[in-house]
């Protein structure tokens, strides 16, 4: 144990020296500390995997930048970007006009729709009239919460959660009737045995509130970094590296809206 500690310490020190000596430039990426497979999830050993951590690694390799991850809660990502605790948020952040007022976005690197999930045995019509008096669960500070608040806020009860896993738990135990979430994330989760009582209740209609794709967010006015990210993302697209990463996590093409 002591030996492992020592070795780790040495490795850390060496890595520290190496990175400070050869640091091309340092970029800090913000990431939400919650299991959000297949986009981002952390193992018990502490390393991140998923589509987005791989994209971050690939983008950083293209930009020849020295990148680190800074973990925080999902609703703290944009405040952290504004207060310079992180430089980039590449973490399923939809490009919406509301967010564009406070931060800038790169070109979108994937598109997704929102999906309603509810109890398999319950007849649910996911329209404002159909969900009258029902309890809707959404993650706070998301496009889904903005959409639900606008169209369902008057007639249904909305519960806001800090992370998606809590909504699923409450949906299973019947504390909420239906949830709205990212299709690419929840559809694979429906196949898991613990979610066998849940089923899709249909895709939500397209709406400006869902934004125009998902991009990487940077501080307002940081055009140099935004351009570098755009160039890197485009080159990953052009030489097929993007597709290689995508195939590991998604069966279908995610670069256009279905």
């Amino acid at each position: 144990m002591k030996k492992t500690l020592l070795v780790t310490l040495q490795a850390c020190l060496l890595a520290g020296i190496a990175s400070s000596a050869f640091a091309a430039d340092k970029l800090v990426f913000g990431i939400a500390l919650e299991p959000y497979p297949p986009f981002s999830f952390k193992s018990g050993k502490g390393d991140w995997s998923g589509f987005e951590p791989e994209m971050i690694t690939a983008v950083c390799a293209r930009m020849k930048a020295d990148c680190t991850l800074n973990e925080m809660s999902w609703d703290g990502l944009i405040p952290a970007l504004k207060s310079q605790q992180v430089d980039v948020v590449l973490n399923s952040l939809s490009i919406t006009p509301e967010r564009q007022q406070v931060i800038d976005f790169t070109q979108p690197y994937f598109f997704t729709r929102a999906l309603w999930i509810g109890d398999r045995s319950m007849e649910l019509d996911p329209t404002p009239a159909g969900l009258k008096g029902k309890i809707i669960g959404v993650q706070g500070s998301t496009t889904h919460s903005a959409f639900v608040k606008k169209y369902y806020g008057e007639t249904s009860t909305i519960r806001y959660y800090n992370d998606q896993d809590d909504i699923l738990a409450d949906l299973r135990s019947g504390r909420v009737d239906i949830m709205l979430a990212d299709q690419l994330v929840v559809e694979p989760l429906l196949e898991k045995p613990d979610n066998s009582m849940l089923a899709s209740k249909g895709v939500a209609p397209l709406d400006p509130l869902f934004g125009d794709g998902v991009g990487a967010g940077v501080r307002k006015g940081n055009d140099a970094l935004r351009e570098r990210l755009n160039v890197a993302l485009q080159s990953l697209r052009d030489d097929g590296s993007y597709e290689k990463i995508r195939e590991r996590y998604f069966k279908t093409d995610i670069t256009t809206l279905k």
């Binding site: 939400a32 500390l33 919650e34 299991p35 999830f41 952390k42 193992s43 018990g44 050993k45 502490g46 973990e71 925080m72 809660s73 999902w74 703290g76 405040p79 504004k82 207060s83 310079q84 605790q85 800090n162 992370d163 896993d165 738990a169 898991k192 613990d194």
Partner: protein, 237 residues
């Protein structure tokens, strides 16, 4: 759930290591906040007992305010609004921006709140020192700082230690509040483990066991300290 499955989750998947790292961070936050709180508390107690009138009023405002506002609100205030404010000030002064990470936010907020509580405990303890002892010290012509160091602090400690050890235990649990900003202390590590593996009961119980372990160890440490500080106190049997 079988033993082999549990051992796989804890050892092969590395979640035990994640919880242990969380425990270290929780202890770090608690220790930092406790020390900061003691320092603030000592100053506040001294001011309340001997300070000029306007400083007493300030100290009273501080203890009332920070005992009234929820720690959770203070953490959110410092972490989100405070970071902006500090960086705006730094920018105005032409200084580079500073990063308020979860650890610092937790230590500062919990330390300030602890200061308000421990200030009252220390003030009470100083007031319970028999006045004759201080008078006797003065009669020898002892100067003020020596009086504090050699007489007031050592004789006050036996009265304060029980209250302070209570504060420490409460503090360890309050450090879990920082999980709200996604800093991976013990509770966040446990939530992360539970949510990733879907073994909620197992991991939440494991987290509880870790907190219990911290309490158990710190109680025995405090008992030793208490015995040491109270060695001159008269025993009531």
């Amino acid at each position: 759930m079988t033993v082999s499955e549990i051992s796989r989750l804890f050892f092969a998947d590395g979640w035990l290591q994640a919880l242990a790292q969380g425990t270290v961070r929780t202890l770090g936050i608690s220790l930092g906040a406790f020390v900061l709180g003691l320092a603030i508390g000592l100053i506040v107690a001294m001011v309340k007992l001997k300070g000029p009138r306007w400083m007493v009023i300030c100290a009273n405002c501080y203890t009332t305010l920070y005992r009234a506002v929820p720690e959770l609100l203070l953490i959110l205030l410092l972490y989100y609004a405070g970071a902006d404010l500090i960086n705006l000030t730094m920018a105005a002064l032409g200084q580079p921006s500073v990063e308020i990470n979860g650890f610092m936010a937790a230590v500062v907020v919990l330390g300030i709140v602890q200061g308000a509580y421990s200030g009252e405990i220390i003030r009470g303890a100083i007031e319970s020192i028999p006045h004759g002892q201080i008078e006797a010290a003065r009669a020898y012509g002892i100067n003020r700082s020596l009086l504090v160091r050699r007489v007031i602090l050592p004789t006050m400690l036996p009265f304060a230690i029980a209250g302070l050890s209570n504060l420490w235990l409460v503090l360890v649990k309050e450090s879990a509040l920082i999980s709200v900003v996604g800093y991976s202390e013990l509770l966040t590590a446990g939530r992360q483990a539970a949510a990733s593996t879907k073994h909620y009961l197992l991991f939440y119980l494991a987290v509880a066991a870790f907190y219990y372990l911290i309490t158990l160890v710190s109680s025995s440490v405090f008992r030793q300290v208490e015995v040491r500080f109270e060695r001159w106190m008269p025993r009531h049997t």
